[in-house]
Amino acid sequence: MDAQGVERALARITHEILERNKGTEGLVLIGIRSRGVDLVERLAAKITEIEGVRVPTGIIDITLYRDDLSRAGQQPQVKGTDIGFPIDDRQVILVDDVLYTGRTVRAALDALMDFGRPRSVQLAVLVDRGHRELPIRPDYVGKNLPTSATESVQARLKERDGADEVVLVPEER
């Protein structure tokens, strides 16, 4: 997936979000660190282009909700959560770059519920690579990418990595 592909996918997801939620009323975007945060900013900018409204955006850090800290190998970097608005009765769009086992989303949902009771939570991801280990499904998908569990999928974004692309990296074993 190249830069143009990423751009088109985000434009489509923006329209889908606005269509399904009938505009921006009650809509908030929350990105999962790190790349979900960049994607949230892009989606928010596109919503502003279309609707002329700036929707609230927040950041969620799931480190303290993970179930695999002891397996992570290296010391966790806690960078903090920043949700500067109440999420009660809002329609929360949770955003991440790659959806894989679903464990990150599970952790993010737990974290989100500690902040209030949203009316609904919808999940938007740039890439769905399959291999779910939990009953979690995305509502908006940039691209479905069938993978083997030994491969690794990297979403690179220009804010953080210099350019937009999604690449499949064969695992070295």
Binding site: T63, L64, L69, S70, R71, V78, G80, D114
Partner: protein, 325 residues
């Protein structure tokens, strides 16, 4: 960047990177205490035991709140209600606690080196919550976090520490950390309350106004009456006349100066009430930040212990897996 120690016994010997990592991690925990639901599940099922051989409300409560906000169970033992009064030694007490499989031990003890002694003999992380006049690492870390929040930096600071330097473990921890961070420090107090080695650490002075002149930060220390077996100065009144931080004296410091005090404060002795309660005073911010610092320390130490424990058990089972494969 990481914190590679298995215990937090002191700040002596820690690198600038390790100290900043601890402070950065603490800064990210502050938000949790501002939530409606002040709890995250990361240490669920873990047990933190505090063993305090000296009186404390602030530090013990702060550790307890920190542990509970991380969902750990917290058991608190005060020496006055423990078997120490029946003559049990520190090591025996610690071994008995260890037999109940805690995940972290927080120790305050009147003897310098007590946490280091235990850390070598029991196999869970040990946090020093104050050992004699030696170190009080979490206090110095919360001081640094508080300074950085208000002043906006930790580089290029001039810090004056005023008062009972001799008995101050807070000063010793701060001295090590501020040295690692490259600050300039002045130690100010009557000659009897400055330890002989102080001159080797930093610039020392015996005049309050000269000592705090141009300082970005003034840390005042409590006169520790309970530690003073003999008289270090003629009277509290006389000490206050020379060393009490008044609004008038504070005018010598740099505009925008911030005032810290590790608490509990003796109003009118080492700090005037209007300074302690004034806009320059960060004393209550220190207490707030203390919870975040202790959350960060407990989180990092318990997770590190958990990770290395799993690595060992994986290594043990590796030959079996190869055989099966």
């Amino acid at each position: 960047m990481a914190f590679s120690q298995g215990h937090l016994l002191g700040l002596e010997g820690l690198s600038r990177e390790e100290i900043l990592y601890l402070i950065d991690t603490a800064a990210s925990f502050k938000e949790i205490s501002q939530r409606d639901i002040k709890k995250v599940p990361t240490l669920r099922g873990k047990t933190v035991v505090s063993l305090f051989y000296e009186a404390s409300t602030r530090t013990r409560t702060s550790f307890e709140i920190a542990a509970k906000r991380l969902s750990a169970d917290f058991v608190s033992i005060a020496s006055s209600s423990s078997s120490a009064v029946k003559g049990e030694t520190l090591l025996d007490t610690a071994r008995n606690i260890q037999a109940m499989r805690p995940d972290c031990l927080v120790l305050r003890h009147a003897a310098a080196g007590a946490p280091h002694f235990l850390a070598r003999r029991i196999d869970c992380p040990v946090v020093n919550a104050g050992d004699g006049a030696h170190e009080h690492p979490t206090q110095a870390l919360l001081d640094l976090l508080t300074i950085r929040d208000r002043v906006g930096r930790l580089d290029d600071l001039t810090v004056a520490i005023v008062g009972d330097i001799l008995h101050s473990r807070v000063t010793r921890s701060n001295v090590h950390a501020l040295r690692a961070l490259g600050a300039r420090v002045r130690l100010v107090g009557p000659p009897t309350l400055l330890p002989p080695e102080a001159a080797a650490w930093w610039e020392v002075g015996h005049d309050l106004r000269a000592g705090i002149r141009g300082a970005d930060v003034v840390m005042t220390l409590r006169i520790q009456r309970e530690r003073q077996g003999r008289n270090y100065f003629p009277s509290l009144d006389e000490y206050a006349r020379y060393f009490c931080l008044t609004r008038d004296a504070l005018a010598e410091a740099k505009p925008g100066v911030v005032v810290l005090h590790p608490g509990p404060i003796n109003r009118g002795i080492e700090i005037a009430s209007d300074v302690a309660d004034g806009a320059d005073s960060l004393i209550m911010d220190q207490v707030t930040n203390g919870v975040a610092v202790r959350m960060a320390v407990l989180f990092l130490l318990v997770n590190r212990a958990r990770a290395s424990g799993e690595a060992e058990s994986l290594a043990e089972s590796a030959p079996l897996r190869r055989k099966a494969g």
